[in-house]
């Protein structure tokens, strides 16, 4: 947001009041606590009906990346980045492959973390431990990206004091998130998500109205681009981009469906009806969010030409500055949109934080470090874990200030998460899958995905091989090893565990 005009005292008062109200919600979440158990703290007592479940899924799924990153990528790639609308929808489609079934099993067996499913399904400490590590690493990456985006959001509003504002932004917003998150756990976070999701939805609607009002119809912006040197950005994507399209659907569609914090929201549903209704509604949300961000990117491409490299992630902020300068109403509305962006960042970050804490506590501490700990003790450990993890990531966010484009950060995380597809999505449908081959497949997939992503290979261009993410190659090998390995096991071994 470094292109915005600095906010005045009125705007800051509004934002401070909004952010402070999250603390009240956190306190209310604590007051509503029914018991001192992991299920109550991490799943809100499994009592989320449609409204809370839908808004917490929405606020969690749509992050700062959706807002800043999608508009920026559209600026660089043009209409081809409708890919973003497709991959956000693909996440919901891939839920169909396992979420309704997992919900039933989780309820019967009392799962709290995603890894509880792996433990129960494969009866293998190694699959569970590797699954925990993959999920925790991917979520840490995600949480770090959100913290950096929080700092960047405030950085641009402080004029010459931008660097100081970045640090205060990261530390201050992380602190607020930690307070309400550790006060009321999942219940507080889901309730703040109701607020944040509502603000986010209003913010996106207002954004579209503002863009139309300020810049005229989208058709005019498209004509403007078609008549410029960027005309290729309105034509059909090149073959390489078409391959990337399929690759993004697989990597983000499947990887996003396996976000640990999203899986825990599936567990937290009050009923299967509430879950199905929430997910059915979520299928239409990409048009209200990702598509609006694509449209903003197109407007920026047409009317704010000349942004390059990491600057393109400021495409949306550049548009907002024009609106902000236009009138007092425009200025006020930009403040609301800015609050919505903070809501998107905080609601995603707090959910990732709670999920990391739950997995460290239940899947690592309670299994490997202190097997005898009771639930009250584990809940306390989980809270301390949140503070330590966020503390370390805040320091990293400050050290790594302005290091990478947001899209680069999310690509690697999904390369990891997608390797859990055989264990979850296939495992729930294929009774013959066994722990040993699933573990071997997971190791194979991770080795290939990380080797291609970070190895010194000339054939890896822009982090992809032939336009396809390393994670997809890893997933193919991973799936082959898991399935063929399980089929080759003796029938006694396949059915005897």
């Amino acid at each position: 947001m470094s292109n915005l005009l600095p906010f005045g005292i009125g705007a800051w008062t509004f934002i401070v009041l909004y952010v402070s109200s999250l603390l009240l919600v956190g306190w209310a979440g604590r007051a509503a606590r029914r018991e001192d158990t992991l299920q109550d703290f991490y799943l809100g007592g499994r009592g989320f009906g449609f409204a809370v479940l839908f808004l917490t899924l929405y606020a969690t799924q749509y992050s700062g990346n959706t807002v800043f990153g999608v508009a920026g990528a559209t600026y660089r790639l043009g209409f081809s980045w409708l890919i973003a609308v497709h991959y956000m929808l693909a996440i919901i489609v891939f839920y169909l492959a396992f979420a309704p079934k997992l919900y039933g099993v989780a309820r019967q067996r009392g799962y709290v973390t995603p890894v509880d499913y792996l433990k129960d399904r494969y009866d293998s400490k190694h699959v569970s431990l590797l699954g925990s590590i993959v999920m925790i690493v991917a979520l840490n990456n995600y949480l770090l990206a959100q913290l950096m985006a929080m700092g960047r959001a405030l950085q641009g509003l402080a004029g010459p004091y931008g660097d100081v504002a970045y640090r205060y932004g990261v530390v201050g917003l992380a602190l607020i998130m930690l307070i309400y998150g550790t006060l009321g756990g999942m219940r507080a976070i889901a309730w703040t998500d109701v607020m944040q999701g509502s603000v986010l939805m209003v913010g996106f609607l207002v954004l579209l109205v503002l863009l139309l009002n300020e810049f005229g119809p989208l058709a005019a912006a498209t004509e403007q681009i078609a008549g410029s040197a960027e005309a290729f950005k309105v034509t059909r994507p090149e073959p390489r981009m078409l391959r990337e399209w399929v690759s993004y659907i697989i990597v983000i569609g499947m990887g996003g469906a396996l976000y640990p914090h999203a899986i825990q929201r599936i567990y937290a549903a009050k009923s299967r009806r509430a879950l199905n209704l929430s997910l059915a509604t979520m299928t239409f949300l990409p048009y209200l969010t990702a598509l609006f961000a694509v449209i903003a990117g197109i407007y920026a491409l047409a009317y704010v030409p000349g942004l390059e490299g990491a600057e393109t992630d400021q495409a949306l902020a550049s548009l907002l500055r024009i609106i902000q300068e236009g009138s007092l109403v425009g200025y006020a509305v930009v403040v609301v949109i800015f609050s919505a962006l903070l809501a998107a960042l905080m609601s995603t970050a707090d959910s990732a934080m709670l999920s990391i804490s739950s997995m460290f506590t239940k899947d690592i501490y309670a299994v490997h470090l202190n097997p005898g700990a009771d639930e009250s003790r584990l809940t306390k450990i989980g809270k301390r874990c949140s503070w330590i993890v966020v503390g370390v990531l805040v320091v990293m966010a400050i050290i790594l200030e302005n290091q990478a484009s947001l899209i680069d950060l999310i690509d690697r995380k999904f390369d990891l998460l997608v390797q859990l597809v055989p264990a979850f999505m296939l495992g729930i449908h294929m009774p013959f899958l066994r722990g040993g081959p699933v573990l071997a497949g997971l190791l194979t997939g991770l080795t290939i995905a990380l080797g291609l992503a970070f190895g010194p290979f000339d054939f890896v261009v822009a982090g992809k091989v032939w336009g396809v993410h390393p994670g997809v190659y890893g997933l193919l090998a991973n799936t082959a090893v898991a399935v063929v390995g399980s089929l080759l096991q003796k029938p006694d071994a396949r059915h005897g565990v």
Binding site: F79, L82, V85, H86, L89, I92, V93, L96, P100, K101, G104, V105, R107, Q108, R109, D120, R121, Y122, D123, P217, L218, A219, A220, T222, E223, A226, V234, T235, R236, P237, E238, L242, W245, V246, I249, S271, R272, R273, N276, L277, L279, A280, T281, T283, F284, P286, Y287, L291, G427, I428, H429, M430, P431, V497
Partner: protein
Amino acid sequence: MMEPEREPRRWIVVVYLGLLALVIPWYWPADDMRHVFGLPLWVIVTLVALLLTSTFTAWVFLTSPEDDTGE
């Protein structure tokens, strides 16, 4: 250890593959410059196909079994 059960309605996968082929604009000529309502034609068709995918997905969720204990 729990054992997973088999899921019916596999034809849904076939419908999704058809929708995927419709959404991704591989079938348009590379130099196609036709516009409808001021937008590239391929963009309009992709958006319509995406909406069909959303509607189909919502239908699948809403017609799924709703008992909390069974599969």
